[in-house]
Amino acid sequence: MTDTVLIVDDSLTVRMDLNEVFAAAGFRPVPCATAAEAREALARMRVGVVVLDVLLPDADGIEFLKEFRASPEGASAIVLLLSTEAEVKDRIRGLQTGADEYVGKPYDATYVVAKARELLRERRAGGMRDEAKILVIDDSATFREELRGALETEGYAVITAVSGEEGLRVAADERPSAIIVDGTLPGIDGATVIRRLRLDAALRGVPCVLLTAAENKGAELFALDAGADAFVRKDEEISVILARLAAVLRQTGKPLTGEPRSLLGPKRILAVDDSLTYLHELEAALQGEGYDVVLAHSGEEALDLLAVQLVDCILLDLLMPGLSGQETCRRIKSAAVVRDIPLIMLTALEDREAMIAGLGAGADDYISKSGEFDVLKARVRAQIRRKQFEDENRRIRDELMRKELEAAEAKAAREVAETRAALVGELERKNKELESFSYSVSHDLRSPLRAIDGFSRVLLEDYADKLDKEGLRLLDVIRQNSQKMGQLIDDLLEFSRLGRKPLSMATMNTKRLVEEVLGELQPRSGRRAKLALGPLPPAYGDAVLIKQAWANLLENAIKFCAKRKQPLIEVSGTTTDAENVYCVKDNGAGFDMRYYDMLFGVFQRLHSAEEYDGTGVGLAIVQRVVARHGGRVWAEGEVGKGAAFYFSLPHGEPRG
């Protein structure tokens, strides 16, 4: 895809220069001299990149940028600001307004192009992944175009470079899927290009095909020595090249995502010095190396700049008015985002103390300003490389840690799942055990009891005349106790069944349910307690179990107020945000709050069997039913005055 580049600058020289380099790099440049021309062009076409001068004859570049960013098209385009005035204020303002880059004039045209490419690539990284993109490096235009044609027919995207140097830069910007490079090139040769690529963390995985001259003996050895994945003699058919290419692409598979920045990509250096003369000398020297140089005149400016634009290396003067170099350095080194940028301290003084002070503040290196620029350039290069290797190491470390963490998490998840499965299995086994246990209990414990009761009865029926009164009473005691034990067994079974039965949840009409229970209980108890039914909100639960709970509570109430002259039972319910609370209150025997803890226990009784009969399971059943519904049970009582039992049921939110 060819990206359109809008070049908005009033200087004809700039327009012509940028037009030429962008066109050569495969973009479609559209030069505009004024903001008005630019607006007109924007109305006509989709633009991928805008190179914008800050000072325009008919508008302020930054105002134009604001206007452009507000338009739907402008939101996604890349904007590079150009400015003659390397004023820090302008730069900050521009970047805050939404420029992607700010390049000071005089600019390095190849840097501008490289930066535009890098930004476009970054922008697209989130989107679709391009089809296989092949970089062809060859100095013969005829061969380049022939190969391009063949590759495009095969469905590859093709980019080209005429020299090894250009090829490396393009590779860094474009991250091709594979590279086809001629062995013989002006400047650095093909083998060297491959060796350089293999040193770059970001590019070492890109497969390379080396083209060798027909007459070259031992070409294979040469190519492999350089680290090429394949080699093809230039006199072979183009189809052979295509086949080799397809093979190496298959072998290497898809490139990794989240690659580090290329070592060979465009670099920006922030130079901070109060001396303008020195700054400009520095700028000239570094620009010659292909760096973009950002200038700041004080420590304060440097910090402001770093807040809006990251750089690859910082050169910082130690002695400055205002914020000193030492303090600036300390601040930079304490900010998380910029801490890792290599920082080289500059000073006019050839003195150990200054050097120690600078390094003590966290500088990565130290250079005397009196020295040659060549030394400085070498140090800068070394620092940038060091940073790059550190980044790569960190990336590898992070990757390893992430993988370890993932492995540990997967292991933990597996263990949890296994433990869970084991627990569920254990639970099912226990439930089965309990089920068969209660089954045998109900069969085997009841049989002898039935025999005891039955034969006592037989004795009574057949031999009553042979027993005296005491004998008959003793038989009666035996029968009563066997019946009592039968009841205990039945209640216990019922209690254990409650814990196992799956809940069948539905909304129920509580009022109707209570009336139904009372209808069943009253004829049996034969009592005439006065009933006061308050409001009873509908409940959500297992109707059979909830009914059982109501039955037990109401049965208790009837039982314990039976001895009152005017027995009264009040039944009511309230509703809150989270739950319904129901209450059964009687004016009966009540209970002593000191024994509250025993109230809901199995086989726990607060009254003697002579006073009130019962097995001590009723309230335990209520407790278990309510707990299985996620509710609570509680009570209040006073001896001789009555008792009130409450239970809550959460609102019916039918859950999955």
Partner: protein, 145 residues
């Protein structure tokens, strides 16, 4: 001459105490005629289908079978299944008599076509009543063999 010649009620019960009480209850309900008591499921099947020990018995079927669920050798459910699967015997009323009201037994028995299900209460008079009533009811229903 054969003691099994005329059988009205077949009681299959392994617990002698329960068997004795059951027979006493049936007698009290005037259903004492021709009760045959067998102690396990295998014997019951032999008796009903005239095999093994009972191979020589004349072809005559009980009018009512009282069947305990938990039995030695062949359990009550299996006996019920065999009775209800045979054209000759499937019309005989079968009443399951058991100590337990455990749901799965009841469901299983009804699936197999049991006619009634009686849980033996611990209390004797209740037990006596229940057995006598069930016996009487089914004997009346099944007048003709």
């Amino acid at each position: 001459m054969d003691q099994f010649e005329k059988v009205d009620i077949l009681l299959v019960e392994d617990n002698p105490a329960d068997a004795e009480l059951t027979m006493r209850a049936l007698r009290k309900g005037n259903l004492a005629n021709h009760i045959t008591w067998l102690k396990d499921g295998a014997a019951a099947l032999d008796f009903i289908f005239r095999t093994g020990e009972y191979a020589g018995r004349p072809e005559q079927y009980p009018r009512l079978i009282l069947l305990d669920i938990k039995l030695p050798k062949v359990d009550g459910i299996e006996v019920l299944k065999r009775i209800k699967a045979d054209e000759r015997t499937k019309v005989i009323p079968v009443v399951m008599v058991t100590s337990s009201a455990e749901g799965r037994d009841i469901t299983e028995s009804y699936k197999l076509g049991v006619n009634s299900y009686v849980v033996k209460p611990v209390e004797f008079s209740q037990f006596s009543d229940t057995v006598a009533k069930a016996g009487l009811y089914w004997m009346l229903v099944n007048k003709t063999p």
